[in-house]
Amino acid sequence: MTARPGEIHSQMAGVIKIAVLALGGQGGGVLSTWIADLARRRGWLAQVTSVAGVAQRTGATIYYIEAAPDKGRAPVFALSPAEGDVDILLAAELMEAGRAIQRGFVTPDRTVLIASSHRAYATAEKTVPGDGLASSEEVATAAAIAAKELVLFDMQKIAEGAGSVISASLFGALGGSGALPFPRSEFEATIRASGRGVEASLSAFADAWARAEEGETSKQGEGAPGTPRVGEPQGPAKALEEWRRLEARAAALPEPARDMAQAGLRKVVDFLDPAYGAEYLDRLDRVLAIDSANRDWALTDMAAKYLANAMVYDDVIRVADLKTRASRFSRIRGEMHVSGEHVLHLTEFMHPRAEEAIGVLPAKWARWIEARPRLFAWIDRRINCGRRVRTDGLFWFGALYLLAGLRRYRRSLRRHEIELEHLERWYALALDTAKRDYALGVEILACRRLIKGYSDTHSRGTSKFDRVLSALEMLDGRADAADWLRRLREAALQDEKGEALEGALKTVKSFA
């Protein structure tokens, strides 16, 4: 009855230990059942365990499989994975692979890590006002170090391409990795035997198998911002001619800032007209005059970006314009898989306030109303309510179309007056400062990032912008002023209410 110590441990080598880390709804249960069924088809004994319950409500869940060749006696399998004791780890999402590494389930002496490089963003990442997305590169780097072998590519994309779910492509990647001693035909037979969505599953399985067999790991940065789409603009001959002149001016800009200026130019011309593009380049010329190559044209580059964003403010005309474009309609039809056999209804969720409505009035009239708060409030009561409008119908399409047509009068409208005034103040401040403190000038330009959104969001953004810039008085003249302004801006992007910003401002006050 007693086993002799020493020789026993080698027998344990026959057990394969597989953990699956998945999110609720990713088919982790199906995948682990497939793996166990596969082993049993080959005459192995296999055991699956999982933790069901609320953990499955979109949270991370672990499935665990152990399998061993049948030697006529039941083995004793463990019920959950242990640190340093996992042979194969399948992660259905990149951060789950990261979590597995963190928990010690991936070790260089034994673990084959098979992970999808795609991301399903967690709430904590999505709610940050700025960019709160976790670094995929760091996890990929850690995975390459922590695993004995790594199979990493976008298995979600493969699954979607085949009309299947990620469990099928993970199963394919597992097969293609060669980590299990079973032939491909048995993998496929397992999928067939399971009965549902077989053809789509087999297709995803085959694609993922091929990718994994190549030993290919995905290039990080897939889907990261790249070069802008560049296509030739269309339009009336005269406008095109003007455009070419503008394009030539932009092309003459120094190299580091040129790409940004070209993108910015398209954006502002698209917003209004070629003359607005000329205004943009004129403003850029002002910065160019005080910039130089030995600064790597950083000020110009930053100005090219944020000038364009500032000049293209989000007014109702722009919204109406974007909502009625043919390109939008075709994009939606593509995204929603609408074909000729379907009919598409489009409902927009709008909530204009008096500010928006008065913004499209001639500046003089608007100022007259703004000076009369009771009238303003009366208008707000009439305007300020949620509106659901059907842009596939002629009435509301027509209304938005007419609104979009107001763009050519924009220069005389109140909102334009407000925005341009604000822009000029900010731009002049940045340029004046840059003459004294170049880096600080660059940072002032970058603060424009804080202003975005509509209505309340817009006012909140503007107030953060003002608060960050309010520190200038305290910082100006200090050697580390630019660095501090950058820190303040980053703090402002961390949370909605600006608590981090308040903290950072207090710090500045303490030493200034």
Partner: protein, 719 residues
């Protein structure tokens, strides 16, 4: 309709002697009940035994064939009280629920049941929700066994052992006239395996037969002087009867050599973990052959003194592997050794942690340390060297600041999300309030992005937990309660209490038509038809029946402005007494499961079907993510644009969207931005509709072409 259907698996329950049963732990338990001739079963859902209730529910027809009564009990207290059927009649009964929360609720009935004792075997199958994946406070069921003196089985986590424990449990219960608890841990419920089946048995006496021939015995009623007698009986008769049954039938097991310097005593449920640790230390083989003696407690209460002392004989030291705290088992063993004047050293929580799950790593380290200290001669050379599990190469980057937390949350399209978005909006207007949470999916609101709800005191006790805060003139409290909690306990403990005590707070009943968090089981107010239960009972009527004067019913929670306005009214109205808002919309998981196949079939058949989905105009979105902070929907996500001018990722709705409308409603109610749109795709449109759409499209296309001719356009239009 529950989340998972076992209709196919239930067929395995018909297997006969000589056949092999393959499946999950919970199915094995059901099969074992039938093999034992159970007369009635009942229970209340909750992880990890939710699926056991679902299996029983799906097996109702089969149960009926054997004359077995199945009840989906109103609560764990009801379930435990159901076992009263075994007090006077020789009928075997079994109930199931999650623990320790279920035992908390059931403890009144359980104590009464244990006092009077039982004639027929009474089995409580409790899903011990402890450790990773647990959704409740971390406590042990063991204390309940001790205080009421009911026996506690903790079988080894494999199917043959669990099935045997069901059989042993009934017999032990009958032999000692005592209810028996059978404890199964989370993973044991879902572990797969096989066992040789036996024939199902018809109960020797059915509940119908008992009803037609009633019996009574005043001595079994918990009333003085009988109740004093019961206590004496427990000690003088039932306990010794249980001890001798456990000993004679060998319910506890011993493995490994007779003679060794050390040994390990363990709860049955810990067996696989202990063996794995010994395997990794080189002291056990794949089949569990061990060179360290093991005494496996498949019965953890009562503990058999003579068996334990025999195991200790000739050993220097014995390690008790007992998960959770307090360490009741080790304390009892310690007292036994002391009383016997033994010199055996008892180890336990000094080598293993006092609190928390005994995971693979914990076992390996704890048992390893114990053996190094007390039985080093047993260890193979390799293991005698320091045996720390190699976590990862030292140069693996630390990911703790990178990997985001991913707690469970509301599902895509969940109808509870807009309720909390509206609450957040009301708080932005009226300031913060004391908000009490309750058990159920709605408790996820206490996590980001909502961060609503500051306490949870028990199922259906949300409003009760705010009852102290009723000071005159102070800001009103808001408390949440789910429809599951409402029917479980809340009707009386929360609503009735608030009426009686003239509470002034606001109570929101989150009504998603099911006991959703436990897997979507039907309840009294479920609206979908149910052939075997009486459903469709109105929460609003029930609340009014209790005397609540101010009641509002919102029949579509996705209407965020209405939800917000109703909450505002409730917080500001002059009306006295509790203000109850019943916010109803069907659980989206259940709804999709019900409607999706119907819609897919209808589309195939050429019927007109409208499928809604939401979208975001990425060039209108400015990337502030205010919408995420009022939603948290998994399908509302972000993406980086291919545009050097944009710093922050923009909102994006992926294909998993079910078109619930929350994002559009929130964008409107919170005056966020005009980026959201709803796209209704009409499948198989009718003739006129098709013509109208074509007509509109042509005019729209003409207008678009007109504008394109007059301006510069940069974007490409694909046909």
């Amino acid at each position: 309709m529950a989340e998972r259907s076992f209709a196919k698996e239930v067929e395995h329950l018909r297997l006969r002697a000589g056949e092999e049963f393959h499946g999950e732990g919970i199915l094995a338990i059901t099969k074992a009940l039938l093999q034992c001739g159970v007369g009635y079963v009942g229970g209340y859902q909750g992880a990890p035994i939710s699926h056991l209730m679902d299996v029983l529910s799906d097996a109702e027809e089969l149960l009926g064939e054997y004359g077995v009564r199945f009840e989906a009990s109103a609560s764990e207290a009801t379930a435990a009280a159901t076992l009263a059927a075994s007090v006077h009649y020789p009928i075997r009964g079994a109930v199931t629920f999650k623990s320790t929360v279920g035992l908390n609720v059931a403890s009144d009935a359980l104590a009464n049941l244990a006092s009077g004792g039982v004639t027929g075997g009474a089995l409580l199958i409790i899903g011990e929700d402890y450790g990773e994946g647990s959704s409740i406070m971390q406590e042990r069921s063991h204390a309940f066994a001790m205080k009421s003196q009911v026996w506690l089985l903790d079988p080894r986590p494999n199917l043959p052992s669990i099935v045997k424990a069901v059989e042993d449990g009934f017999e032990l219960s009958e032999a000692s006239n005592t209810p028996v608890m059978l404890q199964v841990r989370i993973r044991a419920c879902h572990v797969t395996g096989s066992f040789p089946a036996k024939d199902n048995k018809r109960p020797p006496m059915t509940v119908a037969e008992a009803q037609n021939a009633p019996r009574r015995d005043t001595q079994r009623v918990v009333l003085p002087p009988a109740s004093y007698q019961h206590e004496q009986e427990k000690i003088a008769k039932r306990w010794p009867a249980a001890e001798s049954f456990i000993r004679e039938r060998g319910l506890n097991e011993r493995f490994g050599p007779e003679k060794a310097p050390v040994g390990i005593v363990l709860q049955g449920g810990m067996y696989n973990g202990v063996i794995r640790a010994l395997q990794r230390l080189g002291l056990a083989d794949i089949h569990g052959e061990t060179s360290v003696p093991l005494y496996v407690l498949n019965v953890t209460y009562p503990l058999i003194e003579s068996e334990f002392l025999e195991f200790c004989e000739g050993k220097r030291s014995v390690l008790v592997v007992e998960e959770g705290q307090p360490d009741h088992i080790a304390q009892t063993f310690g007292a036994m050794l002391h009383k016997a004047g033994s010199s055996v050293k008892l180890a336990g929580k000094d080598f293993l942690p006092m609190a928390g799950e005994y995971t693979g790593r914990v076992m390996l380290e704890g048992i390893g340390k114990f053996l190094h200290a007390h039985g080093a001669e047993l260890l193979p050379d390799a293991a005698r060297a320091p045996n720390e599990p190699q976590s990862s190469k030292p140069d693996t980057p630390d990911l703790s600041g990178v990997v985001p937390p991913r707690p469970p949350g509301f599902c895509t399209g969940c109808p509870e999300r807009p309720i909390f978005a509206a609450t957040k909006l009301v708080e932005q207007e009226l300031g913060s309030h004391h908000i009490a949470g309750d058990i159920g999916c709605h408790l996820f609101a206490s996590l980001p992005p909502f961060e609503i709800g500051s306490s949870t005191m028990g199922y259906g006790l949300g409003p009760a937990s705010a009852s102290a805060f009723n000071a005159a003139g102070a800001k009103r409290t808001i408390s949440f309660i789910g429809d599951g909690g409402f029917w479980h306990n809340g009707l009386n403990s929360s609503i009735g209490n608030a009426v009686y005590n003239k509470a002034d707070g606001v109570i929101v009943v989150v009504d998603n038509n099911y006991s959703a968090a436990t897997g979507g089981q039907d309840i009294l107010s479920t609206r979908a038809p149910n052939a075997s239960r009486s459903t469709g009972h109105s929460i609003v009527d029930a609340v009014k029946g209790l005397g609540v004067k101010w009641v509002r019913h919102i029949d579509r929670t996705y209407d965020v402005p209405k939800m917000r306005d109703t909450l505002r009214e409730a917080l500001t109205t002059e009306t006295e007494g509790p203000k109850v808002i019943v916010a109803s919309s069907e659980c989206m998981l259940n709804r999709q499961r019900r409607e999706k196949p119907i819609a897919t079939k209808a589309i195939k058949l050429g019927e007109r079907v409208v499928r809604p989905r939401f979208g975001v105009d990425e060039d209108v979105c400015t990337g502030d993510h205010a919408c995420m902070r009022l939603s948290g929907c998994p399908s509302l996500t972000v993406k980086h644009l291919d545009d050097p001018l944009r710093d922050d990722p923009v909102a994006h709705i992926d294909e998993s969207c079910v078109g619930c409308g929350n994002c559009g409603e929130v964008a409107d109610a919170a005056v966020l931005c005009p980026s959201f749109y709803r796209a209704d795709v009409v499948h198989n449109p009718r003739g006129f509709e098709r013509w109208l759409s074509g007509f509109r499209s042509r005019i729209i296309a003409r207008l678009q072409a007109r504008r394109a001719r007059r301006r510069l356009t940069f974007d490409e239009v694909s046909a």
